[in-house]
Every structure is written in structure tokens, then in C-alpha cells.
């Protein structure tokens, strides 16, 4: 196993795709970081613009989410080629025929590749360390739990990419076919998200487990157990699929049957994972949670609550209701059920329809109707139905924000100059040593 890991590691560092990805990652992260910091600074009052707006600003939302988002691009468009190179390369050059004769489980072989690729991803995240150091040098505030959460989200996203790329490279005869499969799946998840935004229903449920939704949740500092476990199950499925199909000495029909059986098992596992309700809000500004007194009051309500919201999929009020209230409410009230009612996806021609725009709350035998979509409005209606009065939030518990009116100094030099030059230099030195 030690030799296998060493070999995979050497193959990674020999891959031009890997070096190119490293070089490109720096400027991508830099572009996102510079834009985010500049906007953060302007909203915080830099150059006299929009002073005071940024007072409730969270670095997670203002700087880190957009900076990390560069890795969504890397995971979707660059990293798959590194994965395919490492997994499919053995098949192309004949090394697979040699190595499969050793008594090492194909799962161990794929595991070694996955481990090396995950380490590669962590190395590719090094530009974030530069961003962090620059941010600290500007006097910016950091909150470790939310940074760890967003980093975890992108590592999970990368693990999905590794699994997808590995499976595609193992199933396809040629790397170009594997690349097409991988990109098709990526585009497919975007299509699912798009249809979910229009149609809702089951599409929305499925879309919650796609990589863009996964990353979005972590970028808000939210760790959902169901999404995390489902991602791990999907990752495991992809790696198992890769291991099954790399056994080129086994009849294809048998591999196909085993793949279908694995798919069935993983589908059941994901179904079970989806029932997990636990979640953790790691954001400093508690953007996924109500205040602690509100949460204590909501916990005291044991009667099942049902909310029927009459909003079309594309009605902005629906999105606001979800973001401002329901996401938080689901976390604290596991017995909450929500249904949406509308006859169209846009809702434009339903405005005069009876009940459109109403939110109907049913708590046991009690019922109330409201049109307010803010968190305060939703809570007020629920408290009214339950006859509960929340405590008052302590002043020191309220998030006051970390405005920072400092431009992104030296960031351009670091990301567009130092990083690419350092990587290109390291590549050149390695190439010379090998030559």
C-alpha cells in the first residue's frame, strides 16, 4: 500500500493538468477575494461610499463565501481532469494491467488514488491561506468555526468530484469520454437546480443534494447532517463504482449487476440519511438561527405545526420566506411541515386568485393566516397561536458586524504574480530534475 501511495503521489506531481490547475487556482481565488474585499470595504465606508451599511456585515457572507466560490469553478471545470488523469491514465498506458496482477483489493487501489487526490485538493486550497493572511493584515476579523465549515463544504464538494471523475474514468474506455461524462453530470445538476427553481416539488428535494446546493449551505455556515451524510454516501458510491469497473478481468455483465446492486444500496442509504434532522449553525452572526430566546420559545411548542404558503416558485416572497424564516424554523421545530400551493410557477397571473400570497398556519386545532414573510412576522403568528411569549435577547448576544474599510492591498501582486510564478518555478525545477 505504501508503494501504491508513493506511486500515485508521484503520478500526481508528474501530471501537467495538476500543475496547470494549481497555477490557475491562484488568480481565480485572487479575483474573487479582491472583488469581495473591495466591495466589503466600500460598503463599510471606504472612500465615503455607503458608510454604515456594512455595520452588520459578516466576513463569512461578505468575503469568505465569494472567495471560496472560486473553488466551485475549480471543482467543476479543472479538478475533474486531474482526477481523470490519475485514474484513467493507468488504463491508457497499460499500468493497470500490471498492477491488477498484485493481490491488492481494487477498493484499496481506488482508495489510494482518492486519498492522494484529496490531498491534492488541500494543496490547491493554499491560496486561501494567502487570502487569510492578507485579510488579517488588513485588520479583518475571522471566526474559525465558520471558516472551517465553509472549507469542509468545499472539501466535500471536491470529494464528490473525485468520486464522479474516478467512476467516469473507470467506466469509460478513453479519458475524453470520461471528461464528457463528468461534465454532463455537472451540467445535469445545474439543470436539476434550474427545474427545481421552476417546478419545485420532488425536483426541489433532489436539488438540495446537488453540489451547488451543498456548497451554498456550507457557505452560509450551515452544516446539515442529512446533506453531509448523503454526500459521503454518494462519494462512497462513486469510488465503489470506480473500483468495480477497474477490475477489467471481471466480465462486464457481472460488473454491471454489481454496480446496479451498489446503486440500490446507496439509494437506500441516501433515503435513510435524508431523514437525519440534525444541523449546526457555525456562522458567527447566527444567520441560520433565530435568537436564543426565540429558539427556547419555539422548542417549548410541542404541537405539530403546519404551514401552507400560497406562493408560486418564482415569487420572490417565497424565497424570502424560506431564507428568512423557514430554514431557521425547520432546524428548531423538527415536526414542522410546509406545503406550497400555486397553480403556476411564476405567480404573475395568480395575484387575484383567492388566498394567493397567504401563509396559513395550523397548530393543532388552531389556525391563523398572515401575509408577512419576515422572520419577525412568522414568529409573531406562531407565538400567537401557541400562546408563548419569548424572552428578550441580551444586548451582548446581538451580532454587531465587522465592518472593514480597507482596500485589498498587495492582493493582486500575491495572486496574479507571486503565486503563479512560485508554482511555475516549482514545476520548472521538478521538470529539470526529472529530465
Amino acid at each position: 500500500m505504501q508503494w501504491l501511495l508513493a506511486k500515485e503521489w508521484r503520478e500526481l506531481w508528474s501530471a501537467r493538468a495538476w500543475w496547470l490547475m494549481l497555477i490557475v487556482t491562484g488568480p481565480l481565488v485572487g479575483l474573487s477575494f479582491i472583488n469581495a474585499v473591495q466591495m466589503y470595504a466600500e460598503l463599510s465606508g471606504l472612500n465615503g461610499t455607503a458608510v454604515g451599511v456594512g455595520e452588520a456585515f459578516s466576513p463569512l457572507v461578505g468575503v469568505w463565501a465569494p472567495t471560496f466560490s472560486a473553488y466551485e469553478l475549480v471543482a467543476a471545470f479543472l479538478f475533474p481532469f486531474v482526477v481523470i488523469r490519475l485514474v484513467g491514465g493507468d488504463r491508457q498506458n497499460g499500468a493497470l494491467k500490471l498492477e491488477m496482477q498484485q493481490r491488492i483489493s481494487p477498493f484499496a487501489r481506488v482508495g489510494a488514488k482518492a486519498l492522494v487526490l484529496l490531498t491534492a485538493w488541500l494543496v490547491a486550497m493554499l491560496p486561501l491561506v494567502i487570502a487569510g493572511l492578507l485579510w488579517k493584515s488588513y485588520g479583518g476579523s475571522t471566526y474559525a468555526p465558520e471558516l472551517a465549515t465553509i472549507a469542509l463544504g468545499h472539501v466535500l464538494n471536491a470529494s464528490l468530484t473525485i468520486a464522479l471523475g474516478a467512476a467516469a474514468a473507470a467506466v469509460a474506455e478513453h479519458p475524453s469520454t470520461a471528461a464528457i461524462i463528468t461534465l454532463s453530470v455537472t451540467v445535469g445538476t445545474w439543470v436539476i437546480s434550474f427545474i427545481a427553481a421552476l417546478q419545485g416539488g420532488w425536483w426541489e428535494l433532489v436539488a438540495a443534494f446537488t453540489p451547488p446546493a451543498l456548497v451554498a449551505q456550507f457557505q452560509h455556515g450551515l452544516i446539515r447532517l442529512d446533506v453531509t451524510l448523503s454526500t459521503l454516501a454518494l462519494t462512497t458510491f462513486g469510488l465503489i463504482l470506480a473500483a468495480l469497473w477497474l477490475r477489467i478481468g471481471v466480465p462486464a455483465q457481472r460488473r454491471l449487476v454489481e454496480s446496479i446492486a451498489t446503486l440500490g444500496t446507496v439509494a437506500l442509504m441516501i433515503g435513510a440519511c435524508a431523514m437525519a434532522r440534525a444541523s449546526w449553525d457555525a456562522s458567527e452572526n447566527r444567520q441560520n438561527s433565530f435568537s436564543e430566546p426565540d429558539e427556547a420559545a419555539l422548542r417549548s411548542i410541542t404541537t405539530p405545526l403546519h404551514i401552507e404558503a400560497h406562493f408560486a416558485m418564482e415569487d420572490s416572497r417565497r424565497a424570502e420566506l424560506e431564507r428568512m424564516a423557514l430554514v431557521k424554523l425547520r432546524r428548531i421545530m423538527p415536526r414542522l411541515t410546509v406545503t406550497y400551493a400555486s397553480q403556476t410557477s411564476v405567480g404573475l397571473y395568480e395575484q387575484n386568485t383567492e388566498h394567493y400570497g397567504e401563509i396559513i398556519y395550523t397548530l393543532g386545532s388552531k389556525r391563523d393566516t398572515s401575509r408577512i414573510v419576515t422572520a419577525e412576522g412568522v414568529l409573531e403568528t406562531i407565538y400567537g397561536l401557541a400562546g408563548v411569549t419569548p424572552g428578550v435577547e441580551r444586548d451582548d448576544e446581538i451580532f454587531r458586524g465587522h465592518p472593514l474599510a480597507v482596500p485589498p492591498r498587495h492582493a493582486g501582486v500575491m495572486f496574479f504574480g507571486v503565486w503563479p510564478a512560485a508554482i511555475a518555478g516549482a514545476w520548472f525545477v521538478r521538470y529539470r530534475r526529472q529530465a
Partner: protein, 243 residues
């Protein structure tokens, strides 16, 4: 050589029984059976398209056979781990680890497959690979790459080494040196099974021959036995007569 063969016929190291492989409706090999004796150099000869590589890949487990079975000396079916313990196969026409230096690749062959590190220097010297150790596999010439693959195979520990076209891409001098190296390893107790399309090379190197044509076994035995059976005057004549 004949005496050696006669002494060994009682306990074959490997028995190949009824191996067939079809690609769709095309039968690449059909009902192939023969025995591999310990310590011999067995040659698989046949015209292009005879199914030599397909047969090798089926025996090595790289390709799933449609039918048939391998048996060990103890008459036990040979599958999975047991096959990996007994057989190592070096395919033709591959260029593995193209970005790695040859020296490291040979270390890997010893380390990964559990070969004997003591053999490393001997194999490198016998195949004259010392000047190439720092070269990447990808930049080696065809003949150099073939010698590198031969070295890779010779460093593995399995009792049976199957090599597909061991002399492909080698010039006459290199062929003779490689043949001498293979003979040296066979004398050391290793069994070699070589697929060779050049009849002269096969006659020079191999103790016994299996003649494959159209996916079927057309003859098995020493060169003299094949010649005698075919009524020809030499092995080339026997080859033409039997295929």
C-alpha cells in the same frame, strides 16, 4: 533439454483446460488446453491474429475468458489471489509510468510486487539498463522500453512469468542478450511462457512450443516433435504446415 522436459511431465506447474474467449460472435480462442511445466521456457507461436495475446490475457486474468479453467500442480482451480501468486504477465505494446524515471519504476516493481531486491542490479546489468535509469519511461526508444518491461517482469516474484512478444523492437544483438537473460532466469528455477511471432527466435529460446492458429491449438511439443509431426524439414515448415 528433452530429459528435463521428460522429468517434469509428471507434475505440470499449470494446466490450462478448455479456455475459450469470444468477443460477441467472434470466437478469438476456442477450447485451448495445454500444460506448463516447471522451469521450462514455453513458447506460444502462431500467425498474426491467432489469439496469442487474447490467450495470455485470459490466463493472466486481465481478460475474462468465456469458458475454461486453470489448474495448479495440485489440481486445484486457479483463480483470484492464487493466480496472482503464481503468474505474472507482461503485456506487449504498453508504456506504463511514462512520466517516471526507469530507476524508480524498477524499484516500484520490486517494492509493489514483493520481488527480491537482490535481483535488481543483476537484471539492470544483464539488460544493460544502467545508463537509462534516470530517463523517464516516456522518452525511451521502443527497444529500450521493451527491455525496461522485460526487467519489470523479471523483478516480480511469481513462479511463472508470461511475456507477450519479449523481443519485439529489439535488434539482433539485443534479442540474443535478452534471450540469454531469460534463459538465465529459467535456469534459476523460474518458468517462462513467451508469446513470440518470430519462429526463429522461438526455436532458439524455447524448450517447448504451443502452436496456436485460428484460436485453436494446432500442436504442442518440442521443436523437433512439431517438425516430425508435420512432416516438414524445419520449424518454419512445420509452422506453415500446421497453421
Amino acid at each position: 533439454m528433452v530429459l528435463l522436459w521428460q522429468n517434469m511431465t509428471t507434475s505440470p506447474l499449470l494446466t490450462v483446460s478448455g479456455i475459450s474467449k469470444a468477443f460477441g460472435r467472434l470466437a478469438a480462442i476456442e477450447d485451448v488446453s495445454f500444460r506448463v511445466e516447471p522451469g521450462e521456457i514455453l513458447g506460444l507461436i502462431g500467425p498474426n491474429g491467432a489469439g496469442k495475446t487474447t490467450l495470455f490475457e485470459c490466463l493472466a486474468g486481465v481478460l475474462p475468458p468465456t469458458r475454461g479453467q486453470l489448474y495448479t500442480a495440485a489440481d486445484q482451480p486457479l483463480d483470484g489471489d492464487a493466480r496472482s501468486s503464481l503468474i505474472f504477465y507482461v503485456p506487449d505494446g504498453i508504456r506504463p509510468y511514462p512520466d517516471q524515471p526507469l530507476g524508480w519504476v524498477l524499484d516500484f516493481a520490486v517494492g509493489f510486487f514483493g520481488g527480491h531486491a537482490d535481483n535488481l542490479r543483476r537484471v539492470i546489468d544483464s539488460l544493460q539498463l544502467a545508463p537509462l535509469l534516470k530517463q523517464r519511461i516516456g522518452v525511451l526508444s521502443k527497444g529500450q522500453a521493451k527491455r525496461a518491461l522485460l526487467a519489470f517482469g523479471l523483478l516480480t516474484p511469481q513462479p511463472i512469468l508470461m511475456i507477450d512478444e519479449p523481443f519485439e523492437g529489439l535488434d539482433l544483438k539485443q534479442t540474443r542478450e535478452a534471450a540469454a537473460t531469460l534463459r538465465e532466469h529459467a535456469n534459476g528455477g523460474r518458468t517462462l511462457f513467451l508469446s513470440i511471432h518470430q519462429i526463429a527466435d522461438a526455436a532458439r529460446v524455447c524448450d517447448r512450443l504451443v502452436l496456436l492458429s485460428g484460436g485453436r491449438i494446432r500442436g504442442e511439443g518440442t521443436a523437433a516433435e512439431l517438425v516430425s509431426r508435420s512432416g516438414a524439414t524445419d520449424l518454419e515448415g512445420a509452422f506453415l504446415a500446421l497453421t
